[in-house]
C-alpha cells in the first residue's frame, strides 16, 4: 500500500540526554532516525534490542513518542524491539503544510513498512493513536497480530440541555475562531517559558500527572531558545477544530476487528481524554476482544500505571519468541 519510492533513513540524535530531567524508570531511546518516504521527515524512536521482534507504539494528539520513555522500556524488557514515531508536526518530526487523518495514516504506513515489511506485528495506540490504529486495523488487518487501544475509543459527548439556536451560535463561534486562528498561523509561535511554566501549563490539562514527569516532558518535547523553552509541536496546530467526522464512527469499527483486541480505559474523565463511558464501549467488543477498566486512573493509563499496564500488555501480546517475526527470523 505504500512504497512508491524507497524511504530515506537518516540516523539522528534528537535532544541531549544530559539536559533531560531525570525521572524514575525513564529511558532515552536507544536508536533514533528520520524516515522520509513522502517528502516529510518523520522522527522514529526505538527501545530494546534491534534484533528483537518489533512492536509499535502510537502516541495521541498533542503528544509525542517520548511520552513513552517509561512505558516503552518496560515493554522492551519483555523482549521486544519497541518502535514509536512522532506524528507529523509533533515532537521531532517535520512541520508540514497540511494535517489530516489520512496523512497521519500514510505516515504510519511508512513506519509499518520500514519496521516490519510484509509481516504483521503487535500495535499499541494511546488516545488519538488508538483511534487511528483501530481504523487502520479495520482497513488493513493483515498488518496486525494484536491491537491494544489505551483510552483511544472516541465517544460523542453531545452537550445536553442546550437549545438548537444556542448550539448554532456555539458552532458559529467555533468555526469563526478556527478561521481566525488559521489567518495567523503563518507567523504563530508557541509561548515561551521556563521548564516549570510549560510543565504547569500542560498540567492544567493533565492534572493527574506527576509534576516532575511533566517537567521531563518539557525537556524531551520542547526546545530551549533565547527567550525560554517552547514545545516543539507545530504552532499552527490547536485543540478543537471541526469537520464531518463523528467520534462514534470509531466504535462501529470495533466489532468486526479480526485480531485479538485489548481495550484499556481509565475511569477518571480528563480534558485531554475522549470522555468515553465504559458502558458505551463494552457492547462493541470484537469476538476476540476484551476491555479492562481501571478505577482511579485517568486518560494516560500507561503513564499513571506503567507497571500494571505494561504487564497487562505483555501478557496480552504473548511471548515475543512466538511472534511471526521472532528473534533470529
Amino acid at each position: 500500500m505504500t512504497g512508491t519510492r524507497a524511504p530515506v533513513v537518516t540516523e539522528r540524535h534528537f535532544g541531549d540526554p544530559a539536559s533531560e530531567i531525570h525521572y524514575p524508570g525513564a529511558v532515552h531511546p536507544l536508536r533514533e532516525y528520520h524516515l522520509n518516504e513522502n517528502g516529510l521527515d518523520i522522527a522514529v524512536h526505538e527501545w530494546g534490542a534491534p534484533d528483537s521482534p518489533p512492536l509499535l507504539l502510537v502516541h495521541g494528539g498533542f503528544d509525542f513518542a517520548r511520552t513513552y520513555d517509561v512505558f516503552a522500556p518496560r515493554l522492551a524488557a519483555g523482549g521486544w524491539r519497541v518502535v514509536s514515531w512522532d506524528q507529523r508536526g509533533h515532537g521531532d518530526s517535520e512541520h508540514p503544510e497540511l494535517y489530516s487523518w489520512d496523512a497521519d495514516m500514510r505516515d504510519a504506513l511508512s513506519v509499518f513498512d520500514h519496521v516490519s515489511p510484509g509481516r504483521p506485528l503487535p500495535v499499541i495506540g494511546h488516545s488519538k493513536g488508538g483511534a487511528l490504529m483501530t481504523q487502520l486495523a479495520d482497513a488493513q488487518p493483515f498488518r496486525f497480530t494484536h491491537l491494544v487501544n489505551m483510552d483511544g475509543i472516541p465517544y460523542n459527548r453531545r452537550i445536553p440541555d442546550v437549545a438548537e439556536h444556542e448550539r448554532t451560535k456555539m458552532v458559529s463561534a467555533e468555526i469563526a475562531g478556527w478561521l481566525d486562528h488559521r489567518r495567523n498561523t503563518a507567523t504563530a509561535q508557541r509561548k515561551p517559558g521556563t521548564i516549570e511554566e510549560l510543565a504547569k501549563r500542560r498540567g492544567r490539562m493533565n492534572p493527574r500527572l506527576d509534576p516532575l514527569w511533566l517537567q521531563r516532558l518539557v525537556t524531551t518535547g520542547g526546545y530551549e531558545s533565547d527567550d525560554g523553552w517552547r514545545w516543539k509541536i507545530d504552532p499552527s496546530m490547536r485543540f478543537g477544530g471541526f469537520g464531518p467526522w463523528r467520534p462514534e464512527w470509531t466504535l462501529m469499527r470495533l466489532p468486526g476487528l479480526p485480531m485479538p483486541f485489548l481495550g484499556i480505559l481509565g475511569r477518571e474523565m480528563e480534558e485531554m481524554g475522549w470522555g468515553t463511558p465504559p458502558e458505551k464501549v463494552l457492547p462493541y467488543m470484537p469476538h476476540d476482544g476484551r476491555c479492562e477498566l481501571l478505577d482511579g486512573v485517568g486518560h494516560f493509563v500507561h503513564i499513571e500505571e506503567p507497571e500494571l499496564v505494561s504487564e497487562m500488555v505483555l501478557d496480552f501480546i504473548g511471548d515475543p519468541g512466538a511472534s511471526p517475526i521472532g528473534a533470529g527470523s
Binding site: L40, E97, T185, P244
Partner: protein, 219 residues
C-alpha cells in the same frame, strides 16, 4: 500571492470593478482545476471586481508534501482570499461562486463567515459529489508525485472527503443566522449529490440559474 499557514495561495485579479463599483466576486474552481485566466462570460455583468483563487495544491498555489487535504483546509484558503479582498475589514463583504468542489467550499465560507459573504452560488463542476456520507472501508496509500499541479493527493483526498448531508446543512443554517439576506445560498447546479440535495431543501436557499443568482446578489 496570499499566505495561508505554510502555503502560498495564488489569488488572480481578473478584472477591476466597473464604473460605479460593487462588491468583489470570488470564483472558486473545481477539483483538479485552476482559476480561469480571464473573466468568464457568465461574470461579465458583475459590477464589482472579479477575482479567482487557486486552492492549495492547484494552479499556482503551493503543492504540499505528503498530502493532508481536507475541505476545511480549503475553507481556510477561501477565508484568506476573503480577508484579502475585504482588506481585513469585517464590515465589508464579497459574493462567491463555487464550481464543483469549490461549491462545497463556498457553502462552508457562507456559513463560517456569514456576515461577510453576500451570497454563495453553487454550480456544477469537478468534485461536486465528494466522498461518502458516513464511515467507510476506504484504505490508505502513498501516491507518486511530480511536484506539478494538481497534486494527486488533492485529487484523491478531496475526492473522497466525507460529506454527511446534515454537516452540509449546518452551514446553511449558520449562513441564514448570520447573513442579512433572506436567501444567502443559491443552488444553480443541475447535479445534486446527497449533500447538495439536502442543502437545496433547506430554508434560506434560492433555486436559480447562475445568471439569476448573480443578479440577485449584485445589488
Amino acid at each position: 500571492m496570499l499566505r495561508h499557514g505554510k502555503v502560498d495561495l495564488a489569488l488572480h485579479h481578473l478584472r477591476d470593478a466597473r464604473s460605479g463599483g460593487g462588491r468583489p466576486l470570488l470564483i472558486l474552481h473545481g477539483l483538479g482545476e485552476a482559476s480561469p485566466a480571464t473573466v468568464p462570460t457568465w461574470a461579465d455583468a458583475w459590477p464589482g471586481p472579479v477575482d479567482a483563487l487557486d486552492f492549495t495544491g492547484h494552479g499556482l498555489s503551493t503543492i504540499p508534501r505528503g498530502g493532508g487535504y481536507t475541505a476545511e483546509l480549503l475553507l481556510g484558503d477561501a477565508d484568506a482570499a476573503l480577508n484579502a479582498l475585504t482588506d481585513g475589514d469585517p464590515e465589508r463583504s464579497i459574493t462567491v461562486v463555487g464550481r464543483g468542489l469549490g461549491a462545497y467550499i463556498a457553502l462552508q465560507l457562507a456559513g463560517g463567515r456569514a456576515a461577510q459573504v453576500h451570497g454563495a452560488v453553487l454550480v456544477d463542476g469537478p468534485g461536486l459529489a465528494g466522498g461518502p456520507t458516513g464511515p467507510t472501508s476506504q484504505s490508505f496509500f502513498s501516491l507518486p508525485t511530480t511536484g506539478t499541479a494538481p497534486d494527486p493527493y488533492a485529487l484523491v483526498e478531496l475526492g473522497r472527503d466525507l460529506r454527511p448531508p446534515d454537516y452540509a446543512t449546518l452551514f446553511v443554517r449558520l449562513a441564514l443566522a448570520g447573513s442579512d439576506l433572506d436567501e444567502p445560498i443559491a443552488v444553480a447546479s443541475v447535479f445534486r449529490p446527497e449533500w447538495l440535495d439536502a442543502v437545496s431543501r433547506e430554508h434560506g436557499v434560492m433555486h436559480a440559474s447562475l445568471a439569476e443568482a448573480l443578479a440577485a446578489y449584485s445589488s
